[in-house]
């Protein structure tokens, strides 16, 4: 087993067997921001305006207008938007799930990717792209054809934990759709800065992608073969409940891209910024 996964499994064993991580949230007794009814579907949709910048050279930024969130929680099985999963263990301060999640980076190559939700303009798959080493019609110019980035799914264990007012997440995933067999580790911690009728939450974390994953999205055959990448991020999110169904919501998410990604000839930016402001409507 990959050494990263071995470490993760060890962390899971520690998390579920020791009282080190404290800060129990208590049992759920009613529907709330943190609790859902078992066996019921929940659908919300955020309507507003936002953008996700695109680090790929000559690609336009991705506008955001509507962000749906559909979820179902059974006793153990759940679907959280595009991520199905099974809960293996649920305690007061620790939860261990097995989840499947889509590969994230495809959003920069295909407007039609579901993770871009609703976008303006015609949906298009910017599948291959080409890399030109020197300007066209220049002596010695070489065009190297790119490759199509397919939708991929990754699967693996996820540890959710709480400590005081901190909430944390550590997920180790392996690509299971046979496109690149790469790995990803996704981790984050959130802390509520304001918790009144206005809510302000700060998040920080990282995504680590194995060399296979980075190569699949940002590598260029015969020209650029990247190594693994470590991308930290920061996020701040605001919300204010206006009524039973309507909530004002806004967030800004900044992700710094590792040199292994930015050194790619198809990448022209060093970061990705996602920002959105709008109103969240609880459909049911």
């Amino acid at each position: 087993m990959h050494s990263t996964l071995r470490i993760f499994v060890l962390l899971l064993v520690v998390a579920t067997s020791s009282p080190l991580v404290a800060g129990a949230q208590g049992k759920c007794t009613a529907v709330s921001a943190d609790c859902v009814a078992v066996g019921e579907w929940d659908l919300s949709i955020a309507l507003g305006a936002g953008v996700r910048t695109n680090p790929i050279a000559d690609r336009s930024d991705i506008p955001l207008f509507a962000i749906p969130q559909l979820s179902y929680y059974g006793k153990r099985f759940f679907i959280d938007s595009l991520e199905p999963g099974v809960t293996l263990f649920e305690g007061d301060a620790n939860t261990v799930n097995l989840i499947a999640a889509p590969g994230y980076d495809r959003v920069f190559f295909s407007r039609g990717d579901l993770q871009n939700v609703f976008v303006s303009g015609p949906l298009s798959s910017i599948g291959t792209g080409t890399v030109v080493l020197v300007p066209p019609q220049t002596e010695g110019a070489v065009e190297i054809p790119g490759h199509r980035r397919h939708t991929t799914y990754l699967a693996g264990p996820e540890w959710l934990f709480s400590f005081g007012r901190f909430a944390g997440q550590l997920t180790a995933l392996r690509e299971v759709t046979g496109r690149h067999d790469g790995y990803e580790v996704r981790s984050g911690v959130s802390y509520p800065l304001i918790r009144t009728e206005n809510s302000l939450v700060a998040n920080a974390g990282f995504t680590w992608k194995s060399a296979e994953t980075v190569d699949y999205y940002y590598g260029v055959k015969q020209l650029y073969r990247p190594d693994s990448a470590f991308n930290p991020f920061l996020k701040i999110g605001y919300s204010r409940q206006l009524s039973e169904r309507w909530t004002l919501t806004a967030f800004v998410h900044y992700e710094h891209l590792d040199d292994q990604i930015t050194d790619s000839p198809i990448v022209s930016k060093h970061s990705v910024v996602t920002a959105f402001a709008g109103f969240n409507f609880k459909v049911f």
Binding site: A46, I67, S71, Y73, K75, L160, A167, Q169, G188
Partner: protein, 102 residues
């Protein structure tokens, strides 16, 4: 008698169902079927050895169905339909600090 149990979920305010009551005796009887707390429901038989009665009823508590004499003074038999409220279970929502949108 059918049904014997009515299950209410959190969204239901009352049980509404068709109650089917059947009685049988070795000799002819004159009796009435009544439902406690539902005085408008009464069905009587004069010198019958069996009877069948179906009626749609709405109720929120256990429903007691009785066979009484024609003067309604004495209870000859009694059965109840139990109302069981299904308790909703709750669990913690998945909080994902890593997630961009949620």
């Amino acid at each position: 008698m059918r049904p014997r149990v009515c299950t209410l979920s959190d969204n239901d305010s009352a049980c509404t169902t068709t109650v089917r009551a059947e009685w049988r005796s070795k000799q002819n009887e004159s009796l009435c079927l009544v439902i406690v707390d539902q005085p408008h429901i009464r069905r009587c038989w004069e010198q019958h050895s069996e009877g069948l009665y179906s009626v749609e009823v709405s109720f929120t508590e256990d429903l007691v169905v009785q066979l009484r004499d024609t003067e309604l003074d004495h209870v000859l038999a009694s059965q109840a339909i139990a109302v069981i409220r299904k308790a909703l279970q709750f669990r913690r929502k998945r909080r994902q600090p890593w997630s961009i949108f949620y």
